[in-house]
Symmetry: C2
Subunit: 115 residues, 2 copies
DNA sequence: CGACTATTTCAATGATCATTGAATCATGGG
DNA sequence: CCCATGATTCAATGATCATTGAAATAGTCG
C-alpha cells in the first residue's frame, strides 16, 4: 500500500492554492465534492464524467498536493474529501467564497455524487 | 496610442481568475494595490522591487486579461487599479477573501506604494 | 528635433502543464 | 490462484508559462 502525500496545512501557500484552482476540471471536482451530501464518501471513480481516469488521477493529485483535498484509500477504492476545517483555519473564509464562486458559474462542470 | 484590452466582466470566468492569481508576483501586485491608500493612483513603474520592468509588464497583462485589474495610460505613465465594483458584482465576496488571504501570508511579496 | 523616461513588445530559453493511451499495481471475489 | 475492478503511473505530445535581455514605442521636455 503506497503512501499518499498530503502537505502539512501550514506549508500550503496561497499561490499554489490558486494555481490548483486555475483549471475548470479541478473546479468541477471541488464543487461536486462540496455539493456532495455525505462528507468523505465520494469515490474517485464517481467523477468519470469530468475526464478520463488517468486525467482525473492527475487532477486529484494537483488538488491534493495543493492542500485542498484529502485522499483516503479503503480497500479497492479511494475516497476524496475537502480539507475543510484545516483549510478554514489556514485561510479563513477563502474556500467558502471559492466554492460559492465556482458553484454559481456555468463554466464549471459538475456531477451529481450519489452516495 | 495603442488600445489596452480589458475583457467584459461578464466574460470573465473563475478558472482564468484563479490561474491569474496562481503566481506569487501577481499576488504581490494585487495586495500592494489593495493596500495602496489612494485608489487608481498606482504607477506601473512603482512595482520594480517585485520584478524587472519587462516581467512586470507580462504579469500586469495577465491580471488585466483575467479581468482583475484595469490599466489606464496617462501621458508617459500607466496607472493600475483593481476592478473592485465590477468584480464584486461578478463574483461577490471573492476578491475580498483572496486579498485577505494574500495579505496575511508572508510568502506573498509586497511593496509600499507612495502616492 | 533629439535625448530621456516609462512601459511594452519580441524572440528565445527551459520549465511546467493538460492530455492521451498503454502499462502497472493493489485489492477483492470466485 | 486467476481474474476483474479501481485507480495510479509512465512516456510522449504539444501548449502554455515565467523569465531574460534587447529592441521598439510613445510621451515629455530641453
Amino acid at each position: 500500500m503506497k503512501q499518499i502525500f498530503h502537505p502539512e496545512i501550514e506549508d500550503v501557500v496561497p499561490a499554489d492554492v490558486f494555481a490548483a484552482l486555475g483549471d475548470p476540471i479541478r473546479l468541477g471536482i471541488l464543487v461536486s465534492l462540496a455539493d456532495c451530501d455525505e462528507v468523505d464518501k465520494a469515490r474517485c471513480g464517481a467523477f468519470t464524467e469530468l475526464a478520463s481516469p488517468s486525467l482525473l488521477s492527475y487532477h486529484f493529485a494537483k488538488l491534493r498536493e495543493a492542500g485542498i483535498t484529502r485522499s483516503r484509500a479503503e480497500g479497492n477504492v479511494r475516497f476524496l474529501s475537502i480539507r475543510r476545517e484545516e483549510f478554514e483555519r489556514r485561510f479563513p473564509g477563502l474556500l467558502d467564497s471559492v466554492i460559492e464562486t465556482a458553484r454559481r458559474d456555468p463554466s464549471v462542470p459538475r456531477i451529481k455524487l450519489d452516495v
